[in-house]
Each structure stands twice: as C-alpha cells, then as structure tokens.
C-alpha cells in the first residue's frame, strides 16, 4: 500500500523540502557544528582569543574525577527517572485500560502534566516540598523528618528524580495505553479461559506483547532523563547542594555559561551528543529487527 506522488522536475520538491531543511540547518546542524568546533579550541573567558588545541579538552575531561562522578550521577539519575516514570505510567495505563466509568476524564487528566513547562513543574514541586513553605516539606519536618533538600544531597537527588519522572509519566502513559489497546482482546480472553489470572496473565501475555512499547519508551526516557531535564533540575536545585544533583547537562551549563570554560563545556556537549546518537541507533536497530521478524 504505497502511494506516491510523482513531481515533474526538481524545483517544486526542493521548495517543499526547503523550510524543513532550513530549520534543521539553522537550529541543529549549525549549533552542533559550532559545538564540535569549539570543543577543539580553548578560549579566554571573554571570548576574544581562541586557540586550536585538538582533543585536549576531551583528554582533560576524562581525566577529571569530577566529570567521571557526574557521569555516574547521570546514569543513576537517568535509570531512576526511567524506572519510576515508566513503572508508574504502566500501572496507570493498566488501570485506565479497564472498563471504568469516567475513563475518558482520567485519561485527559493523566495527560495534562506533559503540557506543563519544566520551570512551572519545578515551581509546583517547590511549593510542595520546600522545607519552609512547601506543604509536604513542612509536614515532613513537623513529624520529625529532617527534610531540607537544599542541604541534604540525597534528598535533593530524590526531589529532582521525582519531579523529572512526574513530568514524563504522561508521555509514557499515552504510549502504554495505546500499546495495551493494540493487544487483541481475544488474546487476553483466551488467557482468561486458559485459567490465567491477574498478575500472572499480565506477566505472561500482556507484558511480552507490550515489549516493543517498553523498549521504545526505555530509550526515549533515557534520552529525556539524560538531556531534557536541565530545566527541571536548574529550577529546583541548580545542580546543588554542592554537586549533588549536577548531572551531565547541568555540568555543561555550569562549566560553559557560569564558569565560562567554553572549550570544556563544548567537549561535554559533544560527548552528550554521541550518547544520544548511540541510544537512537540502538533503538532503530532493535525496532528495525523486530519489525523484520514479525
């Protein structure tokens, strides 16, 4: 079922493709190229003199224990965010997939958080968790928990994980719900007739059929947690206290924009870029193979 439109000549097709190409070049290829270039240079803090230094920025980076710490922190953070947001989203999707009244309303409400800007989401979490003005924060201190994520690094990590995962739940929910609905009813009913109940049925029939969705979301969530959580973290903790929530993206910002070490910051960006490319390639390969075999 392939429908093609054949254009005569090349001018109209070129004109139609041009806007998209222009956007890609201006907002993606150009900055990416600049990042790669400046990752190979060193500049003085005022950006007046730049000097080509080859791969020095990269060798410095991987010799820096602070950077290695940041990698470990990012891996932990990403894994936690992906696990939490996917777990909660799957549970919600399974619940919303049942025959319940007001199902439509639940679904709409569950999708809303995705529409909230990262900084706004962070403010909401601050209003909840702030030790002095937050509802939950005050309550925690009231019952004797020493809650202050501005001082306690572990608590700060917990807060940014919660906030970042929360924002991604909606997205995951939509995909999980669609995935669940694409599982033929008959297969579930056949499993019921075979005597499979509850969680066992979910584990042996539903989850295997949902695996393509799970894997797709795993990659998307890792990418999200690694690269797209800057706004949330910056607004909540700014990477602190100390370096407790300084993930790789936050470090790019701190080193480049705050500490004005453009060369190192660019090198970190390039490393991140390679990370995204690797994850995306993995996803394409895996999904491609799946659709080949069935």
């Amino acid at each position: 079922m392939e429908r093609r439109t054949i254009f005569p000549g090349w001018k109209l097709p070129a004109a139609l493709v041009l806007p998209q190409l222009a956007l890609t070049v201006v907002f993606f290829l150009w900055p990416a190229g600049q990042a790669i270039w400046s990752s190979l240079t060193q500049a003085d803090p005022f950006g007046i003199r730049t000097q080509f230094v080859g791969l020095d920025n990269f060798t410095d980076l991987f010799a820096d224990p602070l950077y290695l710490d940041s990698i470990a922190r990012s891996v932990f953070f990403s894994a936690a965010v992906a696990a939490l947001s996917m777990g909660v989203a799957l549970a919600l999707a399974v619940a919303a997939d049942r025959e319940i009244s007001f199902r439509g309303a639940y679904r709409v409400l569950l999708v809303w958080p995705y529409a909230i800007a990262p900084a706004m989401a962070a403010v909401l979490w601050i209003l909840l968790l702030h030790p002095q003005i937050g509802l939950v924060g005050r309550w925690l201190n009231g019952i004797g928990v020493a809650w202050d994520y501005k001082l306690n690094g572990a608590q700060a990590m917990l807060v940014v994980i919660l906030a970042s995962a929360w924002k991604q739940i909606s997205y995951n929910f939509i995909f999980f719900l669609a995935g669940l609905q694409s599982i033929p009813r008959g297969v579930i009913e056949a499993a019921r007739m075979d005597g499979a109940k509850g969680f066992f049925r979910f584990r042996t029939v539903v989850l295997p059929l949902l695996m393509p969705t799970v894997f797709f979301l795993l990659v998307v969530n890792l990418v999200y947690a690694s690269f797209d959580t800057f706004g949330t973290i910056q607004a909540l903790t700014g990477g602190g206290p100390g370096k407790a929530t300084e993930t790789l993206v936050v470090k790019v910002y701190r080193d480049g924009v705050v500490n004005l070490d453009v060369g190192s910051s660019s090198a970190q960006s390039v490393v991140l870029m390679l990370g995204v490319i690797a994850l995306t390639a993995l996803q394409f390969r895996f999904l491609g193979r799946r659709s080949d075999s069935g």
């Binding site: 008959g186 297969v187 009913e189 056949a190 007739m193 075979d194 005597g195 499979a196 066992f200 069935g294």
Partner: protein, 356 residues
C-alpha cells in the same frame, strides 16, 4: 465431560436487554449448536457460559454447580475463538501448553498431552513455529489443540470456521465433529451458518432477538420449524411464504384466487377464513401443466439442480428448485406438493399442527 443447565439466563448491557431468559439442559457429551442472525445474542450467550461476561440474572449449572459468577479460571471451560486468539509471542507448543502449565501439571505429562493432541490434529511438524508462520487453517487447528489438550468439562466454539475459505471450512467442519464425538466433550457451538448448524449439532437452538425460538434436532427444525422465522432462516434457498386462509372446515387452505391446497396430514383448528401463512420449500414444488403459473425472473443453474426465481400471478415472490438441469422458459406451470406444506398462523407466526 459435564452436563450443562442454563436457568433463566438474562443479560442486559445498560438499558439494552440482549438475552431475555434462556433455559437449556444439555446432557453430558452433547453437541448443541446455537444459530441465529447476527445480533440475536448467540455470542453473548456463549460469553456468559465462558465467564467473559457476567449475567444480569439466572444460573449456569455445570455438573450441577452454579458457575455464573465465577471467574473463567474456575470453570474449566475451553473456548475456540473466531479469530483464533493465539498467543502471538509463543510457539505452537507453548500455546497449547499454557493452560496446562497454569494448572501445574508435571512437565512430562504436559509434553505427552500436547504431543498426542498435536498428533491428532496433524500439528507435530509445526510445534516449534510461531502463530504468524502458520496459515489460517493451521492456526485454526492450533486453536482447537489448545482447547482439547486441557480436557475441559465443556467446549465452546465461537464461529470458529468463519475466517476460513470454503474448502477448508468443509474439511474442518467434519474434523470438529469427529473430534467432538471421539472425545465426548459437551460442546456449545455458535454459528450463523446454517449448513454448519445442520451438520454439526445433535440439537439446534435457534435464537431470535435474544429469545429462544426452537430447540430440537436439526432435522426436526428443518421439517417442523416452530414459526415463520425459523422456517425462513433454516434451509437454502429460503422457504417460500404464501398468505392464505383456512377453508373447507379446516381441511384445506385457499391462497390467491382459486388455488386450494388440501391438508393431507389432518385438519387445522380454527374457523374458516382464519388467516394463515403457508410455507413451502423450493424443492417441494414440481412442474405440472395443470398447476399455477410462475413468471420466471431469474434462472440460477447450480449444476446438479436449477433454481428458478419468479412471481406468482398475485405478485408473491416464489422460488423453486428443480432436480434436473433442463429448466423452463419465461413462465412455468408448477404444483406444490401438499405433503410438504408448512402451516403457520398469520398473526403469531407460530406453527399450526393438525388438531387432535
């Protein structure tokens, strides 16, 4: 093997009543076919017995135990679905073994059971394959295999043959009947295909708009339909219906001027002039130069026989089936064989049997 009793089983979806009280008693080992037009509630009835829907009222007694509110897992019933509903991520072997593993059978017994069922269905070479690598007929067999390995109390078939092509359907129909006889498992079979209904069932239950209309052997349903609905539904091509009135003291019927048909099997109750509907199957009409004239609109040669569709002088649609291929021309004189006449009351549509 188990007996099945349905006791005033009802189902409504919101305000819409789908089944208006079904009563049924099946002895152990019987194959009962539920037949009816789409939307008559036959699939809903099957799903109630399966446990996939909860009845609004009534009881389902399986071997005397009321299972109406139990989970399917606690009923020990196997079902063959219309679209097979195989587990796409499991091999044929695992598809068949799934239910047995849930029951916690030992591994070697599972293997023995699956292999003997696969042997019976000719699935042995396919055990390692995934459903997507199978043809429609093979998937159908796996669905059957998945049901029979469990040796359940009851088989349910939900139009299992409707996705197969005609040749395969005939073949599988015979196979299902053979398997069911051999295993002796009580079975409910839902279909809208009357050939399946006639050939497969020990008895037929004809459903119409959520109500049981007739429960009898296939031949009885064919020869003595309970009302005009059943008469028109069972049999192909469909039975002809002629409006008529009772006359000659209940011993004959008059339809369109001057046509009198005597009742050879006895007089019908009621006063002369009672409105009737006469039913006559197309094959129970013979050519007779002295008979009534049929204006032929359409001739359908079917090979061994010929179907003529036309109109009687009063405009009533009428079809006849002639045994020989040599068919008449534009018009033809025909006579109804009175011994095959079906008589129904025009008001209620119910069958009128000879009085006394």
């Amino acid at each position: 093997m188990a007996s099945l009793v349905l006791d005033d089983l009802r189902k409504s979806f919101g305000p819409v009543a789908v089944l208006h009280g079904i009563d049924l008693a099946m002895p152990s080992g019987e194959m009962l076919v539920i037949v009816g037009a789409s939307g008559c509630g036959k699939s809903t009835l099957l799903r109630l017995v399966a446990g996939l829907e909860v009845p609004t009222a009534g009881r389902i007694l399986l071997d005397g135990r009321d299972v109406a509110r139990l989970d399917p897992a606690e009923r020990d019933i196997a079902m063959v679905f219309q679209n097979y509903a195989l587990y796409p991520h499991m091999s044929v072997f695992d598809n068949m073994a799934y239910g047995l593993r849930i029951r916690g059978l030992p591994k070697d017994e599972i293997r023995t059971r699956v292999e003997s069922s696969a042997e019976m269905l000719g699935l042995m070479p396919l055990l390692a394959r995934k459903p997507r690598q199978l043809s429609g007929g093979q998937r159908q067999r796996v669905a059957m295999g998945r049901a029979i390995v469990r040796q359940p109390k009851l088989f349910l078939f939900d139009e299992p043959l409707s996705n197969l092509d005609a040749t395969l359907r005939v073949q599988m129909r015979a196979e299902i009947r053979r398997l069911q006889r051999r295993m002796g498992v009580t079975s409910l079979y839902v279909t809208h295909d009357q050939v399946e209904a006639m050939t497969l069932g020990d008895r037929l239950l004809v459903l119409h708009q959520g109500r049981p209309v007739q429960l009898a052997t296939p031949m009885e349903v064919f020869e003595r339909p309970a009302n005009t609905y059943v008469a028109g539904f069972i049999g192909a091509p469909a039975m002809n219906f002629l409006p008529a009135t009772l006359s000659h003291g209940g011993t004959a019927a008059i339809f369109s001027p001057e046509q009198v048909i005597p009742f050879v099997d006895g007089r019908r109750p009621g006063a002369d002039g009672r409105k009737l509907i006469l039913g006559i199957r197309p094959e129970h009409v013979v050519a007779d130069p002295a008979g009534m004239v049929l204006q032929v609109d359409l001739i359908e040669p079917l090979g061994s026989e010929t179907l003529l569709i036309g109109r009687l002088p009063d405009g009533t649609l009428f079809s006849i089936k002639l045994a020989n291929a040599a068919a008449g021309g534009e018009s033809m004189a025909v006579r109804i064989l009175p011994e095959h006449l079906q008589v129904f009351d025009a008001q209620t549509g119910l069958r009128l049997d000879p009085a006394g």
